[in-house]
C-alpha cells in the first residue's frame, strides 16, 4: 500500500497542520496576516532604519530605533557611579562570577574543592569591587551600582536563601515544638508581607535599633532582606518535596543506623530537592527579577541606572530601546536559569525512571 501523499513535504505539513478544517484555516490566515503586519515593521524599526552611534539630537529625526541611547550610555547603564577609570574592575569581577557559575554548573565539579574555588573567587571579586589593597584605589560601596549590583544582590540572595529555606522546611517538620513553632512563625510572617515593606524596614526602621555609631552597609541590609524573603518561599516548596518522600525511605535509612543528618543529606534531601526543582527555579527567577525593587530604597541597580539615563533631556523619549536592552539582560539571566534547571533535571533522572 502507498503512504498517503498529502502528509509528505512542506505542502503536506501545511495542509495537515494549518488548514485541516474551516476554523483552523481561518485562525491560520488571521495569524499570518498579523505576523505580516507586525514583523516586517519591527525589523525595519530595529535594524534597517535604526541609528547606532550618534548623539541624542541626531537620533530624534530617525525613523527607526535609536540604539545610540544604549551604545552611548552603556558604561553608565552597566556600571553606574563606579569610578569611570576603574570600571574594568567590576567588569573583571563579573567575568570571574560568570566563570565560577559556568564551572559550577557541571555536576562533575561538585566536590570539596568547589568550595575553595568559590572562596577564592569571592575574595577576588570582593577585592576588585572594594579595592584598597594591591594598589587598587578603594571604592565606597555606595558607588556600586548597575549590573554588578543586580548580580551581587541576586547571586548571593539566591545562594544564601536556598540553604536557609531548606533548613526552615526541615524545622517546620521537626518534632521539637520550639523549632517547629519558630519556623512556622518565621515563614508565615515573612510570606505575609510584601518584599517592598521588608526593604523599607531594612533601610529605615532597622538602623533605628542599632546603637549609636554602628552602621550596617545599606547594600548588605537590602541583601539580607532579599535572603530572608526568598528563603520563606523556598522553605514551603521544599516542604512540599519532603512530603512526597515515602515513610519507607526514612525507615530504610534509619534501620541501617544512619543518624538524622545522614538520613537527610544522603537519602531524603537528594530526592526531595530533585522533585521540587521546577517550582524552586520559579521562585529563584522571580527573586532575581524582584531585586529591581531595591530602587525604592535608593540603591542604583541595573533598572535604576537605565531610568536615570532616560531622565537626561538628551535621551528622553528613547525608553523602548533602553527597556528592551534591560529586558534582554534580565531574559538572559532568567532563561539560563530555567535552561540549566531543565538540564539538571534530565541528568538527575537519568536511569532512575520506573
Amino acid at each position: 500500500m502507498k503512504p498517503p501523499v498529502t502528509h509528505v513535504g512542506v505542502i503536506g505539513w501545511v495542509k495537515g497542520n494549518l488548514f485541516n478544517g474551516t476554523l483552523n484555516s481561518i485562525l491560520s490566515i488571521a495569524t499570518l496576516y498579523l505576523l505580516w503586519k507586525v514583523v516586517p515593521p519591527l525589523i525595519r524599526w530595529a535594524f534597517i532604519d535604526s541609528v547606532w552611534h550618534t548623539t541624542g539630537k541626531a537620533c530624534k529625526p530617525a525613523a527607526g530605533a535609536c540604539w545610540s541611547v544604549i551604545t552611548e550610555n552603556v558604561r553608565f547603564i552597566i556600571f553606574g557611579f563606579y569610578p569611570y577609570d576603574s570600571q574594568w574592575r567590576p567588569l573583571v569581577a563579573m567575568l570571574v562570577l560568570f566563570g565560577l557559575l559556568f564551572y559550577s554548573q557541571n555536576r562533575k565539579h561538585w566536590k570539596k574543592h568547589l568550595v575553595y574555588v568559590w572562596i577564592a573567587g569571592l575574595f577576588t571579586m570582593g577585592l576588585l569591587m572594594k579595592g584598597g589593597l594591591f594598589g587598587l584605589s578603594p571604592v565606597e560601596s555606595t558607588k556600586w551600582s548597575g549590573l554588578p549590583l543586580t548580580l551581587l544582590l541576586s547571586v548571593f540572595g539566591l545562594t544564601a536563601a536556598y540553604p536557609l529555606g531548606v533548613i526552615l522546611a526541615l524545622g517546620r517538620r521537626s518534632k521539637m515544638p520550639g523549632v517547629k513553632w519558630l519556623s512556622v512563625t518565621y515563614i508565615e510572617m515573612i510570606r505575609g508581607v510584601p518584599l517592598i515593606s521588608l526593604l523599607f524596614m531594612s533601610a529605615i526602621i532597622f538602623p533605628l535599633f542599632l546603637p549609636e555609631g554602628v552602621t550596617i552597609n545599606k547594600i548588605l541590609r537590602a541583601q539580607i532582606a532579599i535572603i530572608l524573603f526568598t528563603a520563606a518561599y523556598i522553605a514551603e516548596v521544599v516542604r512540599g518535596g519532603l512530603q512526597a518522600i515515602s515513610l519507607g525511605q526514612y525507615e530504610a535509612a534509619e534501620s541501617m543506623g544512619l543518624n538524622f543528618y545522614q538520613t537527610m543529606r544522603l537519602i531524603i534531601l537528594p530526592q526531595a530537592l530533585k522533585i521540587v526543582i521546577p517550582p524552586t527555579v520559579s521562585i529563584l527567577i522571580s527573586a532575581f527579577k524582584d531585586t529591581s525593587l531595591v530602587v525604592i530604597i535608593a540603591l542604583w541597580d541595573l533598572l535604576k541606572t537605565t531610568q536615570s539615563v532616560l531622565a537626561n533631556p538628551e535621551w528622553m523619549g528613547f525608553s523602548p530601546e533602553a527597556y528592551l536592552f534591560v529586558a534582554l539582560l534580565y531574559f538572559a539571566g532568567c532563561f539560563s536559569m530555567s535552561g540549566y534547571s531543565r538540564k539538571l533535571e534530565r541528568e538527575l533522572s537519568a536511569g532512575e525512571q520506573q
Partner: protein, 258 residues
C-alpha cells in the same frame, strides 16, 4: 535445641540471647496493639511469626529496631536495652538488618551505592572494601550483573534480593523480615525465599513475618501465632502445623492452608 538451653531461654537469663522481650506493651493512640509480649530469641534461632492482619506481628518486629516505640516493658537486643538513648538505638540498628514489604531501596542511588551506603557512613569502612563486600553479597543473591543499575530498572523480586543484600552488607547479627514476599508477583516469590533459605542455612538469626508456610516448615525453629496483640501459640513447625493447640490457631491455619 537442648532442654537445658531451652529452659534458660524461657527464664530470660541466657547469655546466648539475641533478643529478650519482657512483658512489652504498645499502644497506637487508644489502640492496644501489643499486649504483654514475652519473647526470647537465641543466637542462630529462626522464628516465623504469622497471624491475621492487624494482629501486631509487624509492629512487634518493628519494635525490635525501634521503628516503633514501645510504651511498657523491656526490649533488650544483643545485651543493650532499647530506651530513648538515640546513640544506643543507632548502635542496635546497625546490628539489626531489616527487609521491608515494599523493599524501600533508595531510588536515586545505583544498586551498588544502595549497598555501600550503610557500611560507608555507619561502619566507616573504606570505599574499596565496602564495594568488595557489596559485590560479594550481590553475587550471593545472584544479581551481581545489575550492580550499576538503578532500583527502578529491576523487577520486584530482584529489588527484594537487593534489599536483603543491602542489609547483609552491614554484617548484621539479626535479620528482621517484614512480609518480604507479600508485595511480589507469585513467580518472583521463590527467588526471594531461596535467598532467605540460603541465609538460614548459614546460621543467621532471623525473625520473619510471613504467611509462606512452606518456608516456615523448612527453616523455622519456632513458629509464633499472634492474634489481638498477643502471642497465642509458639511451637516447633511440626507441632504447630500438625497439632495446633488453640482454636484461633486452628481457624487461622484452616484459612491459609485451604
Amino acid at each position: 535445641m537442648k532442654e537445658q538451653e531451652r529452659r534458660k531461654m524461657e527464664n530470660g537469663q541466657s547469655d546466648n540471647a539475641m533478643v529478650e522481650i519482657i512483658e512489652m506493651h504498645k499502644w497506637f493512640g487508644e489502640f492496644h496493639v501489643l499486649q504483654g509480649i514475652d519473647l526470647n530469641v537465641q543466637k542462630g534461632e529462626r522464628i516465623v511469626i504469622c497471624g491475621p492482619s492487624g494482629s501486631g506481628k509487624s509492629t512487634l518486629i518493628r519494635c525490635i529496631n525501634r521503628l516503633e516505640e514501645h510504651q511498657k516493658g523491656r526490649i533488650i537486643v544483643d545485651g543493650t536495652e532499647l530506651t530513648n538513648n538515640i546513640k544506643n538505638i543507632e548502635k542496635i540498628r546497625a546490628e539489626v538488618g531489616m527487609v521491608f514489604q515494599h523493599f524501600n531501596l533508595f531510588p536515586h542511588l545505583t544498586i551498588i551505592d544502595n549497598l555501600t551506603l550503610g557500611p560507608l557512613w555507619v561502619r566507616k569502612v573504606p570505599k574499596a572494601e565496602a564495594e568488595e563486600t557489596a559485590m560479594f553479597y550481590l553475587e550471593k543473591v545472584h544479581i551481581a550483573e545489575q550492580a550499576r543499575k538503578y532500583p527502578g530498572q529491576l523487577s520486584g523480586g530482584q529489588q527484594q534480593r537487593v534489599a536483603i543484600a543491602r542489609s547483609l552488607c552491614m554484617k548484621p547479627k539479626l535479620m528482621l523480615f517484614d512480609e518480604p514476599t507479600s508485595a511480589l508477583d507469585p513467580e518472583m516469590i521463590k527467588e526471594v525465599l531461596d535467598v532467605m533459605i540460603e541465609l538460614a542455612r548459614e546460621g543467621m538469626t532471623m525473625l520473619v513475618v510471613t504467611h509462606e508456610m512452606g518456608f516456615a516448615k523448612s527453616v523455622a525453629h519456632r513458629v509464633l501465632f499472634m492474634d489481638f496483640g498477643q502471642i497465642v501459640e509458639a511451637n516447633t513447625p511440626v507441632e504447630f502445623f500438625d497439632n495446633p493447640q488453640h482454636d484461633r490457631t486452628k481457624l487461622f491455619l484452616s484459612q491459609i492452608l485451604h
